[in-house]
Amino acid sequence: MDLIKVLKSIVGINLLNELQYKGDFFIQFISVLLDFVLAILTVDIMFSQISALNQWNKVDILVLVGMYRIFVGIINVFTIPSLSALPGSVISGDFDYVLLTPVDSQFFTSMKEVRAWKLSDVILGLIFIIYIYATNELSFSLSNLIGALLMLICGGIIVACFYSIIASLSFWFNDVSNLLIIIPQCFEWAGKWPVTIFPGFLRILFTFLIPVGVAITLPTQALLNSINSSDVALTVGFCLLLILLSRIIWKMGVKRYSGASS
């Protein structure tokens, strides 16, 4: 249970650090609210002319907008801030300190930085979805909820592993920090819309290369309708495969690492 102890102190330290910038937190909170308002407006304008977009109606898309926010919140708490720091620490040699700790290096690198206040995105997204459900008198069953939760967890793990693989590339290449900034941005562009809208090559890109579809579209589908068991099996399988792959690549990468400093 050492890992939980480590995690607890990491959260504590980072919370103190983030609380320094209260004004900044407030402005970011306002931005998220504004983002919701503008998303509703966008969807309103889009659906003033048509009733459905590839079987997705207005309410479905709004639920997807909420799901997008929840997902972005989740990956911004641990994954993105922690792993984004890896290329820099490999170049400077600070990665030595990670290797010297008695904790698993991949675990430590992916959990090192915690932006606990990004959980506010998750809460806002949740409130938004409840609001949409309430105002449109939608109903859902327990199986919808469990399905959505399962898909969201799988999606989170898939993206975290994917992100870890990309970050591990810094053991081979000079600087991959740009890639690590662009991938979250792809979520922003593509994640707000159902991945099924995109034609051929983009759909493949957003499903496998940058797994927006699995991470955001699938949980939304699970919540709104229900997903078939083959989709669930496929996602869980993909998830396990990526965990294994990211672990192998990490181990290979760490072997290549040679401390640069001292």
């Binding site: 910038y21 407030f26 402005i27 931005s31 407006l41 966008t42 002319q49 600087d175 662009i182 941005q185």
Partner: protein, 266 residues
Amino acid sequence: MRRYLKMYRAYAKQYYLGQLQYKFATYSWLVGKILEPLIYLILWREIAVQNHGQVNGMTTNDVIAYYIILMVVNQFTFTDLIWKFSAYVNSGEFSSNLLLPAHPIHKDIAENIGYKLFSLPVILAAAIITSFYFHVAYDFTFSQILLFIPVLMAAFLFRFLFEWTISLSSFWFINMKGISSLYYILILFFSGRVVPLSMFPEQLQTLVEYLPFRYMVSYPIEILVSPGSTIPMGGVVNMAVWIIIIVFILNLFYKTSVKRFMGEGI
């Protein structure tokens, strides 16, 4: 004048060469610049096709042309100032800009030009490929192009001055993340990158005419792709007024902000 020209050329060239050095990084940034308009192009095209070839007064061809031109215009007027400026001020590197024998904005403009010299050809190539892929027909006249070019230049200047002014907040706040994300959301929506401004509800349309964001991206495109084929000339006046206002604010804000700067290190 010749002194400035020399300075601009030197900084633009230096920045251009710097971009060439990190080709992988700069090209991967450009992927995003192409993807964003492409995603909205696909989305709005799909809606127009489902709605019998038109959406809110724009034909399918209009929508495609709008977003392809947007790809180029948005890159033409783009700056990364807010992020760069804050890093410069926090690290203390800004001191060297203050030591230049010219207003520090000139160095930033020159570097931005250097970046555009590198990136615009790539974006233009992407726009041409996209045009062929979607079989778009451009039907603007010579007079439209004649108006488009100066308006595009003015849009570049205006967006630059505006974002430079916002960047000056770095002298007041250590952490600019909140301000930059708020600004990003506003410009994304109100400059017509998500929804073309002509599709906005009526009350909002009058609002966007007075907001600054239209004159950074949307307005030059509206000149080339104007639904109903009446060129919206009224925007020229609003744009000119905004440029005058921003020059005034920039000067005032710069003078009060720069006094707060305290160089560290080196």
